[in-house]
């Protein structure tokens, strides 16, 4: 067990870890507050980047030139990991690759320019009739008949290959390396592809379910669209690649688990946080209470969030968002509507995303009880301050939109009485970062009080 340095052992001391995590969170929130109103960070993307939610890379021709790059990412235990990645040509290394957003029916063209010392290719699970350099994309074999790549490659150190396909099926898809994927995907050569319906940009899919007089669509709130790309890292594999050494995959042992290329608490930092220069994508789910009463004024919030889960890991990840079930409406870009229009979607409190899978989930939170400190108080007494421990995200009040007293010296990060719910991998050894607990596959759902509110 004692394979780590004295320094890391020291970090394992739980008090130190808590101090470290608290400090990181405080810094995150403080900086987030400062930078929250700016629109551009030192990022691979050029478009304005929202603080939270999906960051699309898109253009009118749906033509993307992606270079393979090398770089490093940071992990919450203070480690730095050598990575490979896809980034838009001329831009800095980023992890994971850009989220490519296109529209149903687009002809998507992806040019891969390879700077790495290994041949690289790209495959597009879920896409049909993919072309490579103008001919059907085919697996590659050496002269002895051994499979060398699942698709034509961009040769090492300067090669290029152009893939194209018609994105004729809306949904959430992966793109990833098809060459030595056991190494290259773990090294970071992957990203998300989002295909939006042509007729409805704020629907996930075109299909509807009709039940009596009710029609169920996949419409979502376009301000509440999220990508959660789940991955894992074996740092010894990365060290071997960096040093040009062979790596025996039978020794594969992941130590870090990432959402959108970050481990908690980095996951809840804003998109484009400039202390994470190569990890641009945050994972905080930011929503308001569901309210479909058109007379509710600003509080009207009638559509769920859309959460697009993808996994490039090696085992099933059981992702458990607290607070409510979500409705799984599609898997691998296939909408869960039967050939006769039957509703095959289902609700889950734990979304199990297998290796290479994508799941699309509609998620909302309803203030069903409407607790109010005056008109509808909770029926139990909350003990006094000295008789509880307090969480960093707690407002001091059980009531949405209220804040109350917290112990002197408590590091409170709650802004306006908003609620937070954790959303995490329930294989709990995977919410750690090589010995640091409360890291890895964790993000949070932030539920703001209905508008108008005092939140920044």
């Amino acid at each position: 067990m004692m394979r780590k340095t004295n320094t890391t052992q020291y970090l394992k001391d739980r008090n130190t870890v808590w101090l470290l995590i608290s400090a990181v969170i405080v810094i995150l929130i403080l900086v987030a507050t400062v930078v929250g109103t700016t629109t551009h960070r030192t990022m691979a993307q050029t478009a304005a980047m929202p603080n939270h939610g999906i960051v699309c890379t898109s253009n009118p021709s749906s033509t993307f030139t992606l270079a393979t790059t090398e770089g490093t990412i940071s992990t919450p235990d203070g480690n730095v990991i050598y990575m490979w990645g896809f980034a838009e040509e001329g831009k800095a290394f980023q992890h994971p690759g850009p989220v490519l957003c296109v529209t149903e029916g687009d002809t998507v063209t992806i040019i891969v320019n390879n700077t790495l010392p290994k041949d690289v290719s790209m495959i597009f699970p879920g896409q049909e009739n993919v072309q490579a350099n103008g001919a059907p994309s085919q697996p590659q074999f050496d002269t002895a008949g051994n499979l060398t790549s699942l698709a034509p490659v961009a040769a090492a150190e300067g090669g290029s290959v152009t893939y194209s396909f018609v994105a004729d099926k809306p949904g959430t898809y992966l793109y990833e390396s098809g060459t030595e994927p056991l190494i290259q995907v773990n090294m970071g050569l992957f990203g998300a592809l989002v295909v939006r319906p042509a007729a409805h940009v704020d629907w996930a899919y075109n299909e509807v379910v009709v039940s009596g007089t009710v029609t169920y669509t996949t419409q979502f709130n376009p301000d509440a669209e999220f990508v959660l790309m789940l991955s894992e890292i074996d740092p010894m594999l990365h060290a071997a690649v960096e040093q040009g050494l062979p790596y025996n995959m039978n020794n594969y042992t992941p130590r870090y688990w990432m959402i959108n290329g970050r481990s908690f608490p980095d996951t809840i930092a804003p998109n484009g946080a400039d202390w994470l220069p190569s990890q641009p994508y945050g994972s905080l789910i930011h929503i308001y209470p569901f309210n479909d009463d058109p007379g509710a004024g600003e509080a009207y919030y009638p559509y769920p969030a859309l959460i697009r889960y993808l996994s490039v890991g090696t085992e099933n990840y059981p992702h458990h968002p607290h607070g409510n079930h979500g409705r799984i409406i599609a898997r691998d870009g296939n909408v869960l509507v039967g050939s006769g229009g039957e509703d095959l979607s289902y609700e889950k409190f734990t979304v199990v995303v297998g290796p290479g899978e994508t799941h699309d989930e509609l998620f909302a939170w309803f203030d069903v009880e409407g607790w109010d400190p005056v008109t509808n108080p909770i029926p139990v007494v909350i003990p006094q301050l000295q008789n509880l421990t307090f969480g960093t995200f707690y407002s001091g009040s059980p009531y949405l939109g209220n804040t109350d007293q917290l112990p002197v010296g408590h590091q409170a990060l709650n802004a306006c009485g908003e609620y937070y719910h954790i959303a995490h991998n329930h294989a709990l050894q995977q919410i750690t970062a090589w010995g640091v607990v409360l890291s890895g596959h964790i993000t949070f759902t932030r539920i703001d009080p209905p508008l108008p509110n005092t939140c920044e």
Binding site: Y216, T253, P318, G323, N324, H325, F349, P379, L388, G391
Partner: protein, 432 residues
């Protein structure tokens, strides 16, 4: 800690539910819940007065359990373990109705799995937890919480995730309030330093009974759908024990969690063949401690049996929950099951599409639940027995071993089907 001033209006129902909710933990076999007493308390009535006496009172502390040979030196058995016991745990206990003195005497007497409890749809329910501290680890000042895993539309204060709300320090308590609107099978666990506390054993089953139980009493259902009717029900709480990690906690060490490598796989806190041993004997009225199953003193703190007793033709509901860290694949030999629910949700589309299916194997990942119903087939008893045996076990066959030893162990239990000529009496509480 115990407030004896009961609210008169709620007295009858609350006391009965205390009995009912604690039954598995107490191992009592005698109570049949009068359905008339299970009607929901009016919402308005519940609001006009704050609740001071909880329906259930749980303690959170440490404790010791028994796991069989082989020895895994130096981790199993733990050299610090009391006589008969082997493995250090954190856990919960049901201490409802005990005196303050009795409650505090339960420090280092927690159980695995934690008590199974259940509540009625639309009926308000409160559960108080008291943190008794850790006898073996006085250096730790860990708080505890109770997370009702899967509760819909939860607000943070009652969700038990300590970063979003509060935790309960040593010698303090907190009362959680639930108004459940959605029947089904859930689970609960401590969420404080969850990787450690959940693995150490603070895990249990909770379910919400549907309104249909009241409108069609005395028939019983898993969901508000008559197709989910059952005669007998059994919680199947899955988790694992990595003896090294448990030894670490008793020896002031920390494991590297990414090395996770369990060596025991548990059903309701026991491994086969202990899984089919009888349930515990309830709570000692003098000491407040658990009474061991008859003839099995080493199972004192593992009171929940997984033996599935049923009669020919019975509809048997299996409520699987997994609070281990591995996906499990539970197979039934010789009887097919219909999977009717997942994650406390009936498998039915919004347009009524039937999404249930027949299967011999139920796969349950960490943090998932699954409801399966089987109909006990017509049988001829096995040679020399009053019943025919079937097996329910983890088809991931390295997990029906105890500590790597030859033979059968781990996540395995037996189904005993009794013929019509010699039937069992009706089931009164789950897992009996």
């Amino acid at each position: 800690m115990i407030n004896q001033e009961y609210m008169k209006r709620r007295l009858s129902r609350r006391q009965v539910l205390k009995l009912g909710g604690g039954l598995i933990g107490l191992g009592t076999l005698s109570a049949i819940l009068p359905k008339a007493l299970l009607k929901p308390v009016g919402v308005e009535a519940a609001r006009d007065q704050q609740i001071t006496t909880p329906d259930l009172h749980f303690a959170a502390s440490d404790g010791w359990i028994y796991l069989p040979d082989p020895a895994i030196p130096p981790y199993h058995p733990d050299n610090m373990a009391p006589e008969l016991l082997t493995t250090y745990i954190f856990g919960f206990r049901n201490v409802t109705g005990l005196t303050d003195q009795q409650v505090f005497a339960q420090k280092m007497k927690m159980q695995l799995a934690a008590p199974t409890w259940w509540i009625d749809q639309e009926a308000d329910f409160t559960l108080k937890i008291t943190n008794l501290g850790l006898q073996i680890r006085p250096d730790l000042i860990d708080a505890h919480t109770l997370h009702f895993h899967g509760f819909r539309q939860a607000i943070p204060i009652f969700d038990g995730e300590p970063h979003s709300s509060v935790g309960v320090p040593i010698s303090r308590n907190l009362t959680y309030f639930y108004r459940p609107h959605d029947p089904g099978t859930y689970m609960y666990h401590c969420h404080f330093e969850e990787t450690e506390h959940v693995h150490m054993g603070m895990v249990g089953t909770v379910f919400v009974r549907p309104l249909l139980d009241q409108t069609l009493a005395p028939r019983r259902f898993c969901y508000n759908d008559e197709s989910t009717e059952f005669d007998r029900e059994f919680a199947m709480m899955l988790n694992e024990i990595w003896t090294f990690a448990h030894w670490c906690d008793s020896h002031v060490q920390l494991p590297e969690w990414s090395d996770y490598l369990p060596d025991f796989w548990l059903l309701n806190g026991r491994v086969y063949p202990d899984t089919i041993a009888p349930p515990g004997g309830g709570t000692d009225p003098v000491t407040g401690d658990l009474i061991p199953p008859t003839g099995r003193p080493e199972l004192q703190y593992q009171p929940i049996s997984s033996l599935i007793n049923c009669n020919v033709g019975d509809r048997v509901l299996l409520r699987f929950v997994n609070l281990g860290y591995e996906e499990q694949s539970m197979r039934m030999t010789g009887i097919s099951m219909r999977l009717i629910g997942r994650d406390a949700t009936l498998l039915k589309g919004r347009d009524g599409t039937d999404l249930t299916y027949m299967t011999d194997t139920v796969i349950v990942g960490p943090g998932e639940s699954a409801d399966a119903i089987f109909v006990a087939p017509d049988v001829t008893p096995d040679d020399g027995l009053d019943y025919k045996r079937f097996f329910l076990y983890n088809r991931n066959a390295n997990r029906i071993s105890n500590g790597g030893a030859p033979g059968y162990g781990g996540q395995m239990t037996e189904v005993h089907v009794y013929p019509a000529s010699n039937p069992l009496p009706p089931q009164t509480v789950p897992n009996t």
